[in-house]
Amino acid sequence: MVKLLRDYTLDLSISVQPGEIMALMGLNGSGKSTTLNIIAGLLQPDSATITLSGECLCRTDDGTDVPTEDRRIGYVLQNSSVFPHMTVRDNVAFGLRTRHLQRSVVTERVALWMDRMHISDLANVRAKNLSGGQKQRVALARALAIEPGLLMLDEPFAALDTESTQTVKDLTRRVVKDMQIPCILVTHRLSDSTEIGDRACVLCQGRKEWEGIPGEMPDLCSVCHCR
């Protein structure tokens, strides 16, 4: 994908395998979130080819551009963005109701994902009253309930305490392996990528500077020569 940004051009090619967690790393403003937004269809690229399980989501050459709402991507944005006016149950059910699934199917799948994310006891609590860790688990359950073809997490652990971070990391890793879906994790912390990432990719001013096994990754500042 190529996108001309204010200070540099994002020019990137990545691929993620089913069941694999790829940590997309880089300093602030290196183009990590922009990459996710382009994949999700929230930002228009200048030039790109994006495919998911063989299905073309975006190809600027022939004008293919599947709308965001039809891309079947589970995307947890920064700060989780759970809808504060809804209960936990309604949050998890949101993506299922938009697809007009049968009520029994919605109920069953919401119960399943609330159970897997250990939030069943919070079902009727308004999301605005949840803690940071609880919100993140709700956001994860909501993104996974639609049975996405790709899971994207943008700094999911940034606002969490140590205990919540570990819980969400464990849940994420288990779910990605169980469901065998590709996952892109945006983070700027090396520990996140080494703990749950299978592969890491370091971005620097829109370009891939390093790719490999997270444990072998050198310090971010030494990889990124832009500063």
Partner: protein, 283 residues
């Protein structure tokens, strides 16, 4: 070092002078606050003192008063409904998209707030009047707008809508786009996102804007008398009835409607305060 008697005296004098100045400041502040409060409250109190409760309730049954009351409530209700139904999606699109001339539209939204209402009335008359720029064509099809109840509603919408539009625009601009983006990735259409996410998350502020719009439309006078005239039962709203009553034909009616408007205005202000307090508590 032991304190010297002269030093103590100086400290005492300084302390007394400081207390004196502080007391003087309190006194000046008290007088100023009392003066401003009295200036604002006395006319309202005078209005209530001028009427006895018996006379007030008796005058409420006066046909002119009842007619003005119901006409005002009817037209204001319609105006508010139109402003909410059209203004909400308008403010949403206006806040979300950039388009040529957006700054001009922004200015036009604010213009009725500073434009003298009588001028707004004249402008509406020049456009929609029987020989107006558009009005003459409506007239050819037998459609007359000026000096009808529709003109009252149009004048109210023109003058009062900025209160809602400004509020809605600002709320939509301030809402974190991540909520709407999340809804889109979860399969929600733009309309569903607006109805189920954006509006509920800004509802308290929208209601506050709607209440202010209702209040402004209810008190509208200048544009209405210019564009809609002053026909009892057709275009004579409460403020116009006050004017007619106080001209000498029915002073009690004028006073009764004035008191009613004061009560409604107080209700509106209390409602807005409660809504704002609720919003602050939520945050």
């Amino acid at each position: 070092m032991l304190p010297v008697e002269g030093d103590n005296l100086m400290v005492l004098k300084y302390s007394r002078s400081k207390n004196y100045r502080r007391n003087l400041t309190y006194l000046a502040a008290g007088i100023l606050i009392a003066a401003v409060t009295l200036y604002l409250a006395l006319p309202i109190v005078a209005l209530f003192l001028r009427m006895t409760p018996d006379l007030f309730f008796a005058t409420l049954h006066d046909p002119d008063v009842a007619s003005a009351l119901w006409l005002s409530l009817f037209t204001t209700g319609i105006s508010l409904t139109v402003v909410i139904l059209v203004g909400t999606p308008f403010a949403y699109f206006h806040s979300k998209y950039s388009y040529p001339g957006k700054v001009v539209v922004d200015t036009l939204i604010d213009l009725p707030l500073v434009l003298p209402p009588a001028v707004a009335g004249v402008a509406l008359l020049v456009l929609y009047g029987r020989v107006g720029i558009l009005g003459r064509y409506f007239n050819m099809f037998g459609i007359s707008i000026a000096f009808t109840t529709l003109a009252v509603i149009m004048a109210q919408i023109f003058v009062a809508s900025p209160f809602y539009l400004r509020q809605a625009k600002s709320l939509f601009e301030q809402l974190d786009p991540a909520y709407e983006q999340t809804a889109r990735t979860l399969g929600a259409s733009s309309l569903r996102t607006l109805v189920q996410v954006t509006i509920p998350m800004t509802a308290t502020g929208l209601v506050s804007g709607a209440v202010m719009t209702f209040g402004r439309a209810l008190g509208e006078f200048g544009a209405t008398i210019m564009f809609a005239g002053n026909l009892p039962g057709v275009t004579q709203t409460m403020p116009l009835a006050v004017y007619v009553g106080m001209e000498g034909s029915n002073i009690n009616a004028g006073l009764t409607i004035s008191i009613l408007l004061v009560i409604i205005s107080f209700g509106i202000m209390i409602a807005v305060r409660l809504i704002q307090k609720r919003e602050a508590d939520r945050a």
